[in-house]
Symmetry: C2
Subunit: 310 residues, 2 copies
Amino acid sequence: MIVVLAGGVGAARFLQGVVQVIPEEQITVIVNTGDDRDFYGLRVSPDIDIVMYTLAGLVNEAQGWGIRGDTYATMQQLTAYGNENWFMLGDRDLATHIHRTNLLRQGKTPSEIAEEVRQRLGLQLRILPMSDQPITTHIQTPAGLLHFQEYMVKRHCSDEVQDIVFVGAREAKPAPGVLDALKQAEAILIAPSNPLVSIGSILAVPGIHDVLHETSGMIVAVSPIVGGAPIKGPADKLMRGMKIDVSAVGVARCYRDFLDIMVIDEQDSHLAETIEDLGIPTIVTNTIMSNSATKAALARHVLQAAGIHV
Amino acid sequence: MIVVLAGGVGAARFLQGVVQVIPEEQITVIVNTGDDRDFYGLRVSPDIDIVMYTLAGLVNEAQGWGIRGDTYATMQQLTAYGNENWFMLGDRDLATHIHRTNLLRQGKTPSEIAEEVRQRLGLQLRILPMSDQPITTHIQTPAGLLHFQEYMVKRHCSDEVQDIVFVGAREAKPAPGVLDALKQAEAILIAPSNPLVSIGSILAVPGIHDVLHETSGMIVAVSPIVGGAPIKGPADKLMRGMKIDVSAVGVARCYRDFLDIMVIDEQDSHLAETIEDLGIPTIVTNTIMSNSATKAALARHVLQAAGIHV
């Protein structure tokens, strides 16, 4: 069994490679839910949806989120009713949020709902939210403590980052199955996701960080920072705000106390030595996932680095 | 001030005439909410929406409900998630239900929400749900007690009607403004709506029936039954089930204890004498609202019958 710690777009693309080289049934994905937020009273769980839509072949590949060819009639009318419209939700996409919210109100947990939706979308891998309790990533800025979506989508990452706060983390527990999956994993792959918010929120769930120290499975991370900048998203601003070097070295430092192997891009080969100096063996390969073949090749490299025969 | 008691399609079309002959600001509409139901956890209030969409020029005229040109992407995806799909909700229409549900969860009442949506749609008349408490119309059938939408839309009115039950009516109160509007009205017009369910549910709200006895305003009803059949909807099946003659006479009998004047169609002129024998003066005119002019003409006739100068 392989476990992948996942954020949104980068993780989803990485998983498109992983499912090409090992059977879906052998994969458990633990997904960040720190970015979840209610819009119009509907629970939106962006990273869960990005991972599912991508693997189900539904995703809008160009933007990396949402459903391909989706329309925006509902949001237009919601806007006419005076609602905010800074977070785009397509009509088909909204069905997911309506369905999820309805099941939550009926007493189902986020992990039960993820399991149900996964089955409906015909996916074979296991998809676990990091926690069934709400943990919401907030960014401390001069303008106040902002929900991550407000910081990123509404205010376009324009505020100075002073701190990252995972509201609710202390009271939360890992979702059922999360700790066991990590304990029993032959390998734990950290997808090329934002180390501070996407993976950081997963690490903030009580118990998960500890188990990463204890597990016998190899832990391999792929850097989402290539050539000094993130492939997608605001990792650079967050890392800079948190005084972390915006580089594969900075990413390695985030994970250094439990990481077995770091995978960095060829463009960053000159950083390999610095990372190895941290005591982390480093593999240099092409991490730019431009097509199906490069995704599979990256997954194969990462799994082989973790000692998995593929 | 004129008050109109309203159900769905027939009432909405009647109101299209009324707004042509008296200023919108002078009209209060009290709308049936007995057909309300939650779908996918969203509160749908069909008659409120039909009235608002129609008067705002948004309605799908052909079907009499929903929004013209609406699409069904959200429902298709909800169906893919295994949800029932017997009640069609378009994408723009769903915005109304999402917005309403969100405001309800924030503690707003149905009448506050109707007021807010009315303003957003640019309507000048006052639209009051009959009650802010849930009253749900159920049909007693050999298959059990069915929610009205289940009886009508899901099971296509195929069950034998044994009784009509307004669940929750006893504990409900008229919405704020309803009793005052009825007391102060110069005229109360009963739209050509289903007398047993649409108007019947309004009459079932404690206090409304009594005020119709006390009010000094003239009460004028338009028969929704023409030539022995309803213009739209299942009134015939319900009336037959309740052993009420499916005719303008049967409608007049439903209202006889408070009705001042009955308006019936030219096709039913032979019934005028029978209705007058009940002690109800009867006006015969064209009640078939086939276009804007016939709607206005009917409204003018009805208002003049009520002693309103138009």
